[in-house]
């Protein structure tokens, strides 16, 4: 391990690390908390829960988000659910099992201690959310309901229809707004953080732009928490919200914070396929659908061709001519294999010519079998002994509607096709980024006083995240981890007086931000920001997407470099910096993506193995499964930035004391 990376994992047994640490971490007394200021960038699950919790403790908190309200953070869009080891179903779940599933699901590239802590606090999240009024789905007996998600064999996912993220975020947001009301939190909506300020090696504040007036502002904080989400939009097309970006994390990176595992991105298997060039984003169909839907393509090439040419309909293909390829390849987990496995399997079938839509990039997600199964159960419940097929189908459809109605409606709205009548068409799309700012056990980056929470850090999901675990991690970080771990740092800062924002470090940082803005506006080239963003997205998708290889990655690196150069000489950003200018906002974000893209490819190129979402074509088994290399690559790749887009790699070795690492098998 390089000396620059100290993960600060507490001593002791895995089961006791967190309990002991929590009870011995230095505290800050209430009077001192009032004079300690904390800046939080982001109001998603991680940011909102951290802000509410820290303000309740008595810290002075400022929260920033670029949307017009904290409630609109991208977490709002999460659909399927949140995991917790409650074992309410009595089906064998436990803290250890959730821990084990997460490490295995992440293909043995996450830290044991962090993941165990996550599993430990997961149950408290459900308690906290219910107490703050989150209306999770319930059974008729009045108790909470659970569903299954990929990569696990227990039912531990809590949900609120297909709007779990919305309900959890509104819960955290109401806690945040309560603190805004008491004056403990000051909210800065429509503000974008554009740099972090460091003084004598410590993080001391940020530069933010008021997006309405265009003015740059300096804000001091004893600590800064980046809860700014993931960077999936580097691909242009993704399931992320349009505004999701890497800028906050990237500016921190350029100020010295290491960026870990940038090439670990998650491609989600069930998204609505691309419909045309106008496409601005992709829409996820929740993974919970894989619970009840069966995924297939035709077994015969001629049927696939006929489908693509519109000569036959999916329902014309006989049962024996269908290839339920996930059930075939992975009998133990079937349609519920982890996302990376499911996505690659879809790509494999489509690349082999079995794709079912006009672009050849789609597979079916079919609810017919389960509709009938549900219909029969309903018939039994109602004491109908000889229901007709129509009755069974109608009752089954009603059950499916109750479970997934909003998702089915969304599908129909977007595609114009009725999914109750025809199988859905789906294809993998970029969804989540496991990589992010490197943090230690305290969630602190290698810059003292600068923290990263939620999707913005790299910490818990290794090379692949299991479904329903991001919401869990965001809320764990914000509600239950940072309120304790921040004490380790702030207890030593109680003598630090608020530093004047006239300090030269603030002046200098603001000047740099201003220069970048001026430069973007002065290029006055001929191509729009989106033009460059789309080009970048294609490069990364083709070379650093579901499958990667050495030659492709090398080409991608030089292509991204060339594109970046062209961007800085030919981009066209209209208007001025005085006032709302959405093109200028986008331009700044794309400029950062153009640097990140290069680092992603570099990281992918350096990692000569396949693991989780990172599939290097050179490293696979004869059956086409990912071939990990634990001997040489069982580490976190943490990249340090140097001026002019140069990087140095630092390695944090991963140590598995409690889990026997094995080839990940879902067969």
């Amino acid at each position: 391990m390089t000396s620059k990376l100290d993960s600060k994992i507490p001593e002791g047994n895995l089961e006791q690390k967190w309990t002991k640490y929590r009870s011995t971490v230095p505290l800050v007394n209430p009077a001192n908390k009032r004079s300690l200021e904390i800046i939080i960038v982001g109001s998603g699950l991680a940011g909102a829960s951290a802000a509410a919790s820290l303000a309740e403790l008595g810290y002075k908190v400022k929260v920033f988000c670029f949307q017009d309200s904290a409630r609109r953070a991208h977490s709002i869009a999460a659909q399927g659910g949140i995991n917790a080891a409650k074992n309410y179903q009595n089906d064998g779940d436990s803290t250890y099992r959730l821990f084990y599933d997460t490490i295995k699901g992440g293909d043995y590239r996450a830290r044991e201690a962090n993941v165990y802590r996550l599993a430990e606090v997961s149950a408290n999240i459900i308690d906290q959310s219910v107490a703050s009024g989150v209306p999770f789905a319930r059974e008729y007996g009045g108790l909470l309901s659970n569903r299954s998600f990929g990569g696990t064999q227990v039912q531990r996912t809590f949900y609120a229809a297909g709007q779990t993220g919305q309900q959890l975020l509104l819960g955290a947001y109401s806690g945040l707004q309560r603190q805004v009301g008491t004056g403990n939190v000051k909210m800065y909506a429509r503000h974008e953080m554009l740099d972090v300020v460091t003084i004598d090696g410590k993080c001391r504040g940020i530069i933010a732009r008021d997006l309405t007036t265009g003015k740059l502002e300096r804000h001091f904080g004893h600590a800064v928490l980046l809860c700014s989400g993931g960077y999936g939009n580097v691909f242009f097309l993704s399931t992320n919200a349009m505004g999701s970006n890497v800028t906050a994390a990237w500016k921190a990176h350029k100020k010295g914070a290491m960026f870990a595992n940038p090439c670990f991105t998650q491609i989600h298997p069930t998204c609505i396929p691309v419909s045309g060039d106008h496409q601005s984003k992709l829409t996820l169909m929740s993974e919970s659908l894989r619970n009840d839907g069966r995924i297939w393509v035709p077994a015969k090439l001629e049927d696939a061709l006929a489908l693509r040419e519109g000569r036959i309909k999916p329902n014309d293909i006989k049962e024996e001519d269908r290839d339920y390829y996930l059930e075939r390849r992975y009998p133990a987990f079937g349609n519920l294999v982890p996302r990376d496995v499911a996505s690659r399997a879809a790509k494999e079938r489509c690349d082999a010519g079995y794709g079912v839509n006009k672009t050849g990039e789609a597979v079916f997600l079919d609810f017919a079998a389960n509709t009938i199964r549900y219909g029969k159960i309903e018939a039994n419940k109602k004491g109908m002994h000889n229901p007709t097929e129509e009755q069974v189908v109608a009752m089954g459809k009603a059950v499916v509607k109750e479970k997934y109605g909003n998702l089915f409606d969304m599908y129909q709205q977007i595609t114009g096709v009725n999914p109750y009548e025809q199988p859905m068409m789906i294809y993998p799309a970029v969804h989540y980024t496991m990589g992010g700012l490197w943090v230690d056990y305290n969630l602190m980056t290698n810059i003292p006083g600068l923290y990263a929470l939620g999707e913005a850090n790299f910490s818990d999901h290794g090379a692949n995240r299991l479904g329903a675990s991001a919401l869990m991690q965001g809320l764990a970080d914000g509600y239950f981890v940072i309120p304790y771990t921040i004490g380790a740092y702030l207890s030593k800062e109680i003598m630090t007086k608020a530093i004047s924002t006239d300090h030269e470090a603030f002046v200098e940082a603001e000047k740099n931000v201003q220069n970048t803005i001026d430069r973007l506006l002065s290029i006055k080239g001929s191509k729009t920001v989106d033009y460059y963003h789309k080009k970048l997205g294609l490069i990364i998708w083709n070379q650093c997407g579901m499958a990667r290889n050495e030659a492709g990655l090398k080409k991608a690196i030089s292509d991204v470099q060339a594109l970046r150069e062209e961007f800085w000489s030919n981009v066209k950003v209209p208007g001025s910096a005085n006032g709302l200018n959405q093109e200028l906002e986008k331009a700044g974000r794309v400029a950062d993506f153009l640097e990140l893209g290069e680092l992603m490819c570099k990281d992918a190129l350096e990692r000569n193995e396949s693991c989780g979402g990172h599939f290097r074509e050179e490293y696979q088994t004869e059956e086409g499964e990912a071939l990990r290399d634990d001997e040489n690559y069982k580490y976190v790749a943490a990249w340090e930035y140097f001026a002019g887009n140069k990087w140095e790699l630092h390695k944090e070795d991963l140590i598995y004391d409690n889990i026997k690492i094995a080839q990940r098998s879902y067969k």
């Binding site: 609109r72 709002i76 709007q163």
Partner: protein
């Protein structure tokens, strides 16, 4: 099947809060029926930038109908002609070739225009800050299954909580009343056991803040619920009115 449309757009342009603002007309051609309404705006904005003109500012983020950012008043209706969808979910197949489409921002005193189609809805956040929460600090919660909640109550609380805070209800109302938005939050908590301790205080404080923000009075026209993309029901307003009455009586007693 996919088709292409040629359309005339009349879009409200306003430089900033102080500018008077006016409509401007744009012709857009070859718009695929598979596009979303906002993707049509992307195409237009791309063209405006290339022509050295200022693109049209509008709020949007998730483009999935859940964040509540998008907010266009289309042909006299908030979020356009289709029931139960937000602007971002509206697809061009809801329009016909040759249509003229008029696009304005939400209009309400409590939602001042920032630029073009972007308005300031921070009044909603202040209403939530006034009482739209359950006062529980992190770490105080008991086991989530300790209090069973009848499924029907949980489902109805969820239906109220599905409000995305878009403000279409205000834009639809001739009085620019925020009753539907406020009642959805009041109702969600009133239906849950966790919301009981602060039930009446909550409604008083949220309503007081609502009045302070300059939203209009409710005259029961029902336009809000009819235009709400999430189908938030008028029964929540009725429930809030009842709770508000009770709250008023209990304050008198003190």
């Amino acid at each position: 099947m996919e088709k292409n449309l040629n359309l005339n757009l009349k879009v409200w342009r306003q430089k900033n809060a102080n500018d008077k603002g006016k409509f401007e007309e744009y012709k857009v051609n070859n718009i695929s029926t598979d596009m979303s309404f906002l993707e049509m705006f992307d195409v237009l904005n791309d063209r405006l930038v290339t022509e050295d003109k200022e693109p049209i500012a509008f709020d949007h983020d998730c483009r999935e109908g859940i964040c509540g950012s998008c907010s266009m008043f289309i042909n006299g209706q908030p979020h356009g002609p289709k029931q139960g969808v937000t602007t971002c979910q509206l697809h061009m197949r809801s329009f016909n070739d040759g249509d003229t489409i008029v696009v304005e921002p939400w209009r309400a005193t409590a939602f001042p225009v920032i630029k073009d189609l972007v308005v300031d809805r921070s009044a909603f956040d202040r209403i939530i800050s006034a009482g739209g929460f359950i006062s529980i600090n992190t770490g105080n919660a008991q086991d989530a299954n300790a209090i069973p909640i009848p499924k029907d109550d949980a489902d109805e609380a969820f239906a109220a909580a599905a409000c995305i805070g878009c403000g279409a209800c205000v834009a639809a109302c001739k009085n620019a009343s925020a009753m539907l938005f406020v009642s959805a939050k009041v109702s969600q908590f009133a239906l849950l056991p966790q919301g009981q301790p602060e039930r009446y205080q909550r409604v008083s404080e949220m309503v007081a803040q609502m009045d302070l923000e300059g939203f209009g009075a409710c005259t029961n026209t029902g336009a809000c619920s009819a235009e709400c993309p999430k189908g938030i029901s008028l029964t929540h307003i009725a429930r809030m009115n009842r709770d508000f009455l009770v709250a008023g009586m209990s304050t008198n007693e003190k």
